[in-house]
Subunit: 357 residues, 2 copies
């Protein structure tokens, strides 16, 4: 029988109290958030009580949906941020002190206690991951499961499909386009918000065609890029791009509604797709989804994803922002379209001589 | 071996040429159609050539989609009406002369050669039906298969669901509400366009709640009628009602997009659902459909439907318009919301002493 008693006593910590930065919601935005709505402060880090673990965060994820959690509208997929409270979000860190037998100092863990340099919480809040699985610990954050289930489960991607991805230079969109291709799509088309991003899509990420959605009516650009129509649309934005996609979709086309960046940018609901008659006549399916319903696909996807990385058939595109103090503005810049790929914030500088990103 | 030769000679017809009314598209409408865009004329009815059948039509169906076939917009689910040509649509009639062994004089047949009193065509254009299956031949027209597949296949109705049906006093909506209840829905809510129709829904068709969509914001009315939210929305109209439904839908709610009456009434595409973020966050599915993908369910549904009629558990609501000359205006009145239930046109007066409707 395994004995738990050897680890049951909390470790003894010595020296001055540990401090670290954390980010709190300073005020609920009335309209569009600004960086001033988030306050970054120094706080004392509690030592772990029995059953708890103290983690030093290495990276945290920045996600467009965080803006919605700040605004706190109705029926969010996750609890909203509360004024005066620390924000939360995906993070990856290293256990620096453990008062629970399930985790040990040095373990790499993923968890939801981002927006802080140190996190102390019950061991059940942390999930140990294999530090050797990826070249950088940051890659444990949002590694494309959304793109995968959106294509495979929600949009029922079939070999030979033509796939259109909006916000294709972003974290999810860039992987959605690449994964679609790896899973047999005949043609992959992406849209993005600048000429540089368009070049990035076709040059680096291997999209067959790409266009800048500022560049004339989206419908014309999409028609030109997809002369035989679109079978699957991976929708990150809504608005004009969704309306154009519905026009260009083939019969039995499938739309995975992943996000609504348009709404997040505008701060108000989008007017949505235009032609419901086309939805009926072409027997289109629009299906909203979030990751929560599909977490069971994580092991299967992780396996495939690491395989693609090993064989060099997928580009993992990442933007690293330095330091928690930069994170509030970086979140706004992310939603505003400044970055490509997965955007993460480095919370703990790498020791000299090592590289973590 | 079956010999076909005994029936191979065409029957001999005598007497003066037979004449009948037929309706032609007089001009392509530029904007909303009027009754003047359809011209009803007397024409000579050809006798059946070998392999053909002559049918005297008893009833034809009026369907809102016919307005779209007149306007001839892009990507219709069926061929548009052509200027100078006879319109088409579902009809039920009686074989009066047959030059094909597969059909005999007196057979009751359904077919697509409506908008005319007599139809002569190859026997393959007609399908014989059981004259004893329904009390009126008109009930062979559009008897609810759309409602059934919309609920069962498209919206995946589950026992205990709360179901909302728009245009619920119409042919499809009225059956959708009743079928939903018969298949285990816990609560059925309908919307319609007048106080009389609302009373008809709760009084005659057994809806649990109903409201007039003119009567204040649809969102408020729907929220009041569905305090625990909506699981399935059978959408016949789009527009404000769809936007309200998306707001009120429960997680994993399913929307069957059957039609877009709003667009047909307005003559322009509808602006569509409002809140795509709600579609994503609540993991809603919007799925367009037409009957063509689901005709294999016809025998199964016919069986159930006749059973419900026999046991008196379903109300078959029908409006009969008299004579082809009344049909053009009746089509506009149908789309304008004047009728309840299935709207049919009686093309052949019943012989004295009999009743066919």
């Amino acid at each position: 029988m395994k004995s738990l008693t050897t680890n049951a006593l909390p470790p003894v910590f010595s020296g001055p109290p540990r401090t670290g930065l954390e980010a709190r919601l300073a005020a609920r935005p009335d309209g569009l958030p600004t960086a001033d709505h988030i306050q970054v402060v120094t706080t004392t880090v509690p030592d772990p009580a029995p059953g708890q673990v103290l983690v030093r965060n290495l990276f945290m994820s920045l996600d467009p949906g965080m803006l919605l959690l700040m605004s706190g509208g109705p029926r969010l997929p996750m609890p909203r941020y509360e004024v005066g409270q620390v924000l939360y979000g995906d993070a990856v860190g290293e256990v620096v002190a453990s008062a629970d037998p399930s985790l040990a100092e040095g373990d790499l863990v993923v968890h939801r206690l981002g927006w802080r340099e140190y996190a102390t919480a019950g061991a059940e809040a942390f999930r140990r991951v294999d530090a050797d699985a990826h070249p950088s610990p940051s890659m444990h954050l949002g590694f494309g499961l959304v793109a995968y289930v959106g294509l495979v489960e929600v949009a029922r991607l079939r070999p030979g499909d033509t796939v259109f991805v909006s916000s294709a230079a972003g974290a999810t969109g860039g992987l959605a386009g690449q994964i679609a291709r790896l899973m047999g799509a005949a043609r992959v088309i992406g849209s993005a918000g600048s000429p540089e991003k368009v070049a990035h899509l076709t040059g680096t990420l291997g999209f067959d065609a790409a266009f800048d959605y500022h560049d004339g009516p989206v419908l014309d650009r999409l028609r030109a890029a997809a002369p035989d129509g679109v079978d699957v649309y991976f929708d990150n934005v809504g608005g004009e791009q969704l309306r154009a996609a519905i026009e260009v979709m083939n019969i039995h086309g499938r739309i995975a509604v992943c996000g609504a960046l348009n709404r997040q940018r505008a701060g108000r609901p989008d007017e949505g797709p235009g032609d419901l008659l086309a939805v009926a006549a072409k027997r289109l399916t629009l299906r909203g989804f979030t990751l929560f319903d599909h977490l069971d696909r994580a092991p299967e996807f992780g396996e495939r994803f690491r395989g693609w990385l090993r064989e060099g058939s997928i580009v993992y595109d990442e933007t690293v922002v330095e330091g928690l103090a930069s994170a509030p503005q970086a979140l706004l810049d992310l939603v505003g379209g400044r970055y490509t790929g997965k955007t993460v914030v480095r919370l703990t500088p790498a020791p000299a001589g090592t590289s973590v990103a």
